[in-house]
Symmetry: C2
Subunit: 339 residues, 2 copies
Amino acid sequence: MRLASPTIVEVAQRAGVSISTVSRCLNHPDKVGKKTLQRVRKVIDEVNFSPNALAQSFRRGKTNIILVVVHEIGSGLLSEVVGGIRSVLDGRYAVILTESRPDAAQPANFIEMLVAKQVEGVILLCSVPPFSRKIIELNKARNLPIVIGLEPLSDELRKLPSVHIDNFAAASEATAYLIGLGHHRIAFVSGPRQSYVTLDRERGFMAAMADAGLDGSHVHYADLSVNGGINAANDILTGAPPSAIFCANDDMALGVMSAAARRGLAIPGALSVLGFDDMRYAAIANPPLSTVAQPAREIGIHAARRLLDAIDNPDEPGRQTEILQHRLVIRSSTGRGPG
Amino acid sequence: MRLASPTIVEVAQRAGVSISTVSRCLNHPDKVGKKTLQRVRKVIDEVNFSPNALAQSFRRGKTNIILVVVHEIGSGLLSEVVGGIRSVLDGRYAVILTESRPDAAQPANFIEMLVAKQVEGVILLCSVPPFSRKIIELNKARNLPIVIGLEPLSDELRKLPSVHIDNFAAASEATAYLIGLGHHRIAFVSGPRQSYVTLDRERGFMAAMADAGLDGSHVHYADLSVNGGINAANDILTGAPPSAIFCANDDMALGVMSAAARRGLAIPGALSVLGFDDMRYAAIANPPLSTVAQPAREIGIHAARRLLDAIDNPDEPGRQTEILQHRLVIRSSTGRGPG
DNA sequence: GCAATATGTGAAAACGTTGCCATTCACAAG
DNA sequence: CTTGTGAATGGCAACGTTTTCACATATTGC
């Protein structure tokens, strides 16, 4: 009993007018006679008509949909960014999200393309290479407006407008803070090497260590997850442990804290832990996690504005990367070091 | 310099064939002569043609897009559920997400409708009433397949297929566990009253208390957020505090733990805290949070399968609500009570 | 009361595909 | 040589809308 939706034609017939008139009632009601309008609207209500969005989009060549690509939705930070994006776009565009984490990998990618073409712009909040490469192609081939948020990307992507913090500077400031606290042996838990965000943070760490004449080679690699942090901590804390561990994100820092707690290590007494991102649970960790905060909502807002720019002026490239301010948030997981 | 995308017509001309043939090359290549196919494919490559997805969907009346509605993306639990959904749907459908949390409220809703109509099915993972009501209308009016996941919904929604745990039973078991531990004064931190999930949990708590002949009226209301938990805890812990607090979700439980820690209350020594959901950070809280786990991924998988069913057999209602197993996860935030 | 101008309306052409049907052609069977 | 068969291809309508253009009618200014 799938009843076919009524079309504009049916409305026209019932109201005894032409389809043009019905269309006008929908889109330019001021250009329609008063009583005609009334009659048509009545019929529209009666048959519960609403225009076929597919046909509309097709005809207009416009979908009013913006796609936001995230790697995985379960992150408070992303939630903030998306909130910022929506605060700008809502009303003008429907914001839909897609995850780039692969599940059935191959065919999915293909379908993403399909999605992408029904979309008027994309905000990329992730940098997984195979996926972003596809997106770039689309940008080139179809002239699809794209803005990168949160992540500075590989060199080929740097031509695209992007909005993020200065990860290098942030990490090196944070490291300097740790050094100022008297820590000399500091380990850094980095993320996957393809990620330019964590790479920048890693380099910031090493630069700050070098500046202070300290050994910045104590770098471990994990996968940015809590478990990654736990494993890294277990590695790091055997043998001669450092007095501080700086993590490329909060999830790993939380993992490190958990592993340290399990080993009976007092934080920050025996070990200082510093995170990155200031995600939602950082403040209520036990002890509350020191971290460097990204202005997530702001990033979303700016990215959305840039996208709007790009859509409205498809021809001019616009200024490229936009750097927002980070902020070192000192809570209780960091304390004085031995030195 | 927005260059118009080439259409099938252009390809046809360049290849010296009819557009039907080009279309066939795309959709039924076996029905095309070998050398024609080759020639057409060459041209397609040359001009970098790919069919206009909007036109295709319009023509076919099929978009191959499934919409998943979540209240807000920043939750590990949802991430799991979505993972499950995608493991079933990827390849057959593109899965896109939308948040129901309002930002620019009114106009947004309107646009959601637009989105909804380009979509072949919806999985609702949230129950915010104004939004879900809209969805229901769509279901009725357009016969749009819908499945509810994670949340049992209001009576009017109970007609829709849904997949979730037995929140009443789970909460009452968890409460019984607390009682068995020797707790007599137990507070419950509930969520907003419109939410049927938290309502069920609340009722489960009260029933278990009543069964044990205890006072189950110690119920506080918060908004399911960490801060809500903190505030609730501050209320509860002044005066004559209970020996255990059971929260309707983990976020609030984490908030309660944080507030308790700030007050110098030992957990579980002075206060036991029990959460609900087993979200990602529950296991690494300090101390690790006892909670009741939902089989999130399973819920996603089942919901997706139900949706597929509903799409394939639009006429039969199919069996209605499907109950999956919960599991009490005992970690270190709960301990023996005074009694 | 007549031209000039608004105002409201309808006919029809698009938008880019797909798929049915008809056509052509080659080739095998009679 | 005719007829029948199958494969390969082209023509064309259709999907539901929006929009341009032209037409008819109503309104205004003399």
